[in-house]
Symmetry: C3
Subunit: 151 residues, 3 copies
């Protein structure tokens, strides 16, 4: 369960997911609440929204590129510093980790209740994302070996 949309927690989630996929495990990531923001496209998609949905959409980070550190963000400076170091050390960026996850067959599931509450539409999400609810999550979690809540 990816509950958080912070840069550091998203990095941890995708590094673990991609590592598990590389070791041959089936991996499903369930994005709920703030975590759903990581799956948004970084451009505005023209969709019909209520005023309050539009406001939510505007206030929350649009996509993984916009994610910031949960601590020491310092108005973006901390996040920029970490991204700079990652680039220098040839660590994959968050969007690259997401692309790698998709290529490795990691299932990305968007929580449909969150989509409904926050007014996020299917067309606003990146390609290759499924929709699912808590029952779908629990089915998969019950069969999994390792379950983590990244909040």
């Amino acid at each position: 369960v990816v509950f958080s949309d912070s840069f550091d927690k998203a990095m941890a989630a995708f590094i673990i997911a991609n590592g598990a996929a590389a070791m041959g495990s089936g991996v499903t990531m369930f994005f709920t609440f703030w975590g759903l923001n990581l799956l948004r496209q970084d451009r505005a998609v023209p969709v019909r929204k209520t005023p309050i949905e539009r406001m939510f959409g505007w206030m929350m980070p649009r996509g993984a590129e916009k994610a910031v550190l949960s601590k020491m963000n310092m108005a973006g400076m901390g996040t920029a510093m970490i991204k700079g170091i990652m680039k220098k050390k040839n660590v994959l960026s968050l969007p690259e980790l997401i692309a790698a996850a998709r290529e490795a067959g990691v299932r990305l599931v968007a929580c449909n209740m969150t989509m409904d509450l926050m007014g996020i539409k299917r067309e606003e999400l990146i390609d290759g994302v499924e929709e699912g609810g808590v029952a779908a999550y629990l089915d998969r979690a019950g069969a999994a070996n390792v379950n983590l809540f990244i909040g």
Copy 2:
């Protein structure tokens, strides 16, 4: 393990717990640290406390009704907005989710070490709550299929 008392994380915890109970699983939620605040009654209960315990009790949110978002709370406005949307979409409120959990047989366990440290007394908690320690938690966790730390 419910470690957080934020509104969003508590919602996630109870939606997962109630979903699992609805699918026939035995569910135990262990409330520790801030999470314990979710099990407090929303009224002041007359109990004997030290001055520091009284201060803690006063500073921490008294019950699920008082829980606020971990992000974008904006002095309560964000939380109120989400609650408004939830009501409109007929999503159960947090107190309703807790009541539903109790009815579905979800076991709610209050961490007795936290109760001792924070000076929260049994009489201050809602009905239907058990007390337990880390050993009780681990016994249950070891036998469970899915374990999450919601922090």
Copy 3:
């Protein structure tokens, strides 16, 4: 996975780990991102660092003694209050919990990718810490009964 370096979450992590070890389970704690700070020595260790690594090292809490509450820290006052109560109630302090974990055979693994990114050197960590990557974590997690992400 210990992702957080906050006092309260670290307490929860070590109380669970030590409890499990006391009940005869093999326990491995994997410290990543901010969590790595909990394993730093509380003194400055003379090591060669780039200026940016030096700055990171200086800005992040150096060791468990410096960890503060994730909530209600109030410029250190909240953390000091909790520590005072813990002492009075004879609860082990965080450094004592870490020492107890080591004595009980809990494996403390420092994420080597975090060490590389943050510029934390082996000599700066407390004794008895191993280094490992995501593959080492996943190997251990796959074989474990209970997995938690404390973030």
